[in-house]
């Protein structure tokens, strides 16, 4: 009830905002490419089980991480990590997270250019497309953090409806026999595809940083887990539709199988010859929310360590770095390789952090207030 027109309102979000942030952050570039990665290591439609399993594991991890974070209400990651571990370890950990999120932002910035190059304009230089996108992200990050969550809420219906269109449109052209036979994949294939599925859903890692902003983190852990589950449902549906429409072998040779879904579907009514360009708008928004939150966390984590930095200055320093990183890979194969490396790193680092925090939390226990 205490409304103050000053910046005090910033940083006070609700549980539901975390849920929405988790969902919007998990959907991203990987949603477009993950059917290919999973199809590579599984046979016919077996991959959906990996997606399902990966989702369950991810939601469990999300629940654990959120539980740890909610034990320290209204504290930054740095403060509770240095309580659980020690100050130097926490600082190093935070800075590695900053680097990770800087790279994630750069990856998103590059990927939008690739996507648009492939589907929207052939001649416009990728640098221009990336730069325009990055500028918009910078504009968003320069605002308040509360505004970022409001933006998530504002885009959430757009995101969900876009995904529903992606899933529902091609349902008419699914060849159901393509889904058969079941259970052909060996164990190794399941493990590998589950790994990719988890990597795809690592976006819930943002709760480590954003839970400090939640006003009353009571149901936050539950909502984080539910958020991961929801994305898992969508991913399973997307995967099944992809396999049904294209078949396993075709998907393995596609860059963005999910995006190609909407190309192959025909829109009733006949006004739009190609609907994919309109879906590109949805994907831009989806990429944008991911990049925005990644950039915001990068700025936030650096400012946890170096408190003297002004937000705007930091953003201005980081933006050229992000742009440079995003332009480093030359060909698309480089980007794919980059993506894989990033995925491996994120996964292993996340596992390390979770284990360390989890063990320390078990030993030391939570602190009720800061």
């Amino acid at each position: 009830m205490n409304r103050t027109p000053s910046p005090d309102l910033q940083g006070i979000i609700s549980d539901r905002d975390i849920f929405i942030a988790v969902v919007s952050n998990i959907f991203g570039v990987m949603t477009l490419t993950v059917p290919r990665l999973i199809a590579e290591s599984t046979l016919s439609s077996d991959g959906w089980m990996s997606v399902f399993l990966g989702g369950l594991i991810a939601s469990l991890c999300g629940w654990i991480v959120a539980k740890i974070a909610t034990s320290f209400p209204n504290q930054t990651f740095l403060s509770y990590a240095s309580y659980l571990l020690s100050k130097p370890v926490a600082v190093v950990m935070t800075l590695i997270f900053s680097i990770q999120y800087i790279v994630v932002t750069a990856y998103n910035v590059r990927e939008i250019a690739v996507l648009s190059h492939q589907y929207l304009f052939d001649y416009t230089p990728q640098e221009v497309v990336s730069l325009a996108f990055l500028l918009v992200v910078i504009y968003a990050v320069c605002g308040s953090q509360a505004a970022i969550f409001r933006l998530n809420v504002l885009f959430f219906p757009i995101l969900i409806s876009g995904l529903l269109i992606v899933i529902l449109l091609p349902i008419g052209i699914i060849q159901w026999e393509g889904l058969l036979p079941f259970f052909q994949t060996d164990f190794k294939g399941y493990v590998q595809s589950t790994y990719y599925s988890i990597v795809n859903m690592l976006g819930f890692g943002i709760v480590l940083f954003y839970i400090g902003l939640v006003q009353k983190p009571q149901k936050t852990a539950k909502l984080t887990a539910i958020g991961v589950m929801v994305t898992m449902m969508f991913n399973v549906a997307i995967y099944i539709v992809c396999i049904g429409v294209f078949g396993n072998a075709t998907i393995q040779n596609m860059f963005f199988p999910t995006f190609d879904l909407s190309r192959s579907a025909e829109i009733p009514g006949g006004f739009f010859e190609r609907f994919d360009a309109f879906l590109f708008l949805f994907w831009t928004i989806i990429f944008f929310t991911t990049a925005m939150m990644a950039f915001d966390i990068a700025v936030m984590t650096i400012r946890m360590v170096f408190r003297k930095f002004k937000k705007i200055n930091l953003v201005l320093i980081l933006s050229p770095i992000i742009f440079l990183i995003s332009m480093l890979p030359e060909t698309y194969l480089d980007i794919v390789y980059f993506n894989k490396l990033l995925g491996h790193f994120m996964f292993s680092y996340f596992v390390i952090v979770t284990l360390m925090l989890g063990i320390a939390f078990k030993i030391k226990g939570g602190k009720s207030s800061g």
Binding site: M1, L120, F121, V128, V129, R150, F156, F271, F280, L281
Partner: protein, 704 residues
Amino acid sequence: MRRFFRRPPGRHANTDFQNNESRNQAQYCPHCRHFHSRPIQGQNMQGNNQNANQSTVNNQHVQETQNPSANQQYQGDQNENNQPATNKMINSFHSSGQNHQHAQGQQGGQNDHHHQCTCHQQIGQGQNQNENQNYNAGQNQQSDQNSSSQQSNQNTGGQNNQNSQYQMPLPIYKKVSHNFEFITRILGNPIDLVVRELEIDVSCGHMKERKVQLLLPKSQIELSIAQEKEHEPSSHEQVHQERADDEVSVPCILFYLSGMANSDIINENILRMLQSKSIRTKENLIEQVHKEIISVTDTNKLATLEEAVNALLSGDAILMVDGEMTALEMATAGTEKRALDEPQSESMIRGPRISFIESLDINLTLIRGELRDPNLRFVVHEIGRRSKQKVVVCYVEGLTNPDIVNEVNRRLKTIDIDIAGDSGRIEQWIEDSFLSPFPQVVDTERPDRVIYNLMKGKIAILVDGCPFALMAPISVGDAFLAMEDHSQRWLIGSSMRILRFVAMFIALFLPGLYVALTSYHPGMIPTQLTLSLAATREGGPFPAIVEVLLMAVTFEILQEAGIRLPKIIGQTIGIVGGIVIGDVAVSAGIVGPALVIVTSLTAMSSYTIPNYSFSVSLRILRFLFVIAASILGLYGIILVFIMICIHIVNLKSIGVPYSGAFAPNFLDHMKDLIIRAPVTALRKRPAYLEPLNQHKVNLGGRKQ
């Protein structure tokens, strides 16, 4: 600031001042809102500024500027935004002070103590906090009291304007002739000032000895004083005899400004009563006149000449009685008013057909008349140094969040301009971001819309002399809500509302989409349509972006011309515009026919938005989309869309998020935002305004 001190005495920024000063004794300084009058100060304040000379005053001014804490006395609570305004105020204040000194120097010599602008000294003293040897302790105390009372006033909020801080009480003279002279000189003896001299009969009492003829020459005054002295030693019996004998009459003066005041009331209820009735005793004359004679309900007593002049200027009649230091102010204000009319800018088919007019009283009545809630509050502010307009903040106590009310009141207090003018200027003073294209305070001329929004937990601001009320805080969705949605059944209301949202998107995106689709993504629309579009545009010399901008600008020009032109000629514009846009441009081969459809559809769509200021901002944003589309196609459009969304979520209206109804609580507000749910389902007030009372309807004992 020092610049002013070096200014040569002959040059003044204020020319009025210069003209008046040669012949007037008393002057009204518009900058500091004081009366500077030589004889009065000579009489009353003589003891206070014995040692004051120009150099000390200059010193004080310099100290004022150097003392940053002085600002706190002007405004109790400031935020950063208003800092410049305060400085400005101090600036003008100083310059005016300097002007006075020069003026007086010119007039009566530099060392004439009585001519100093004492009010400036007083304020300077209050700010400096230093012991100033030029003043005696009594005055120090007075100024301290002033400043403390100012601060307490600001804390309580309410009827006082910050400008009134500078006022120094200038008491009413006992002699009506002095008052008369003073007022006529302050006002420059205008032709609309009606002065009526009359005499009140006092049936008993020894008034004879105090009787003074109006506008007596000085020698005669002395004579009468001498007569008084003669009478004083007379014996008790003599006085008693006189009292029994004669019926004396006391001179008094009635002032009012014709046109501003209702002369019927003055003639019937004041003048006639004064002439027909008489007073029994001479004791407490003004009290008796007030209680027994004047038959005007709203009658107040005034102690200072400033109040009297201000009351006069707002249309009230002033009665001054000889020998009394209080005057009577009678609320006779009544100018000619426009008749109540239909709303011109927000018409609708079903619903009340009444709109606000330029009179504040009538507007308040329109609100009060529909909302007979004892908790309805009107907080009055006086805004405008010269215009002294009344600005009223309406809200419902116990419903509207008090933080909103306090914030609005605080912002209104920071307004410091000479004339407030239209409510649009007030809006721009109190809005959160002046860079935003979106209105952060919504205006309306419909009383029912104001009441609907008050019931939601918002506040309304009414400005005297303006038929548009302001409502705040608002969110983006508010611009799309028409009052008619609630008059129609919910299905129809919802359809209309969705239609309006669709129209908003068309108005915003269609020209941009046209540019993007024709020049970047022709493959997205059906091949046949692409071919026919290309065929019609084949002869055209311009690229799509130029065509669109050409047509859009043409349309904007037509629209602007249509507003400015008199109604009789206005139809010509319609015909000319219709032909120019519709036919000639196409047949001349400048633009394609498809673009005509796009332009006209866009134009029509932008008119479906019920709020004019919002639809104007959409019209501007449309150009942004067109330009973005010409550079990056669809991708540019979506980027601009995202940017506008970012802007909206960062924007605030009176401290409340502008995306209010959409972003923090989406699902709860869907019921009365995108659609209009059945009235029985609309039980709650919007949560983003944090009203004190959540439920609109009685739940009948059920739990929510």
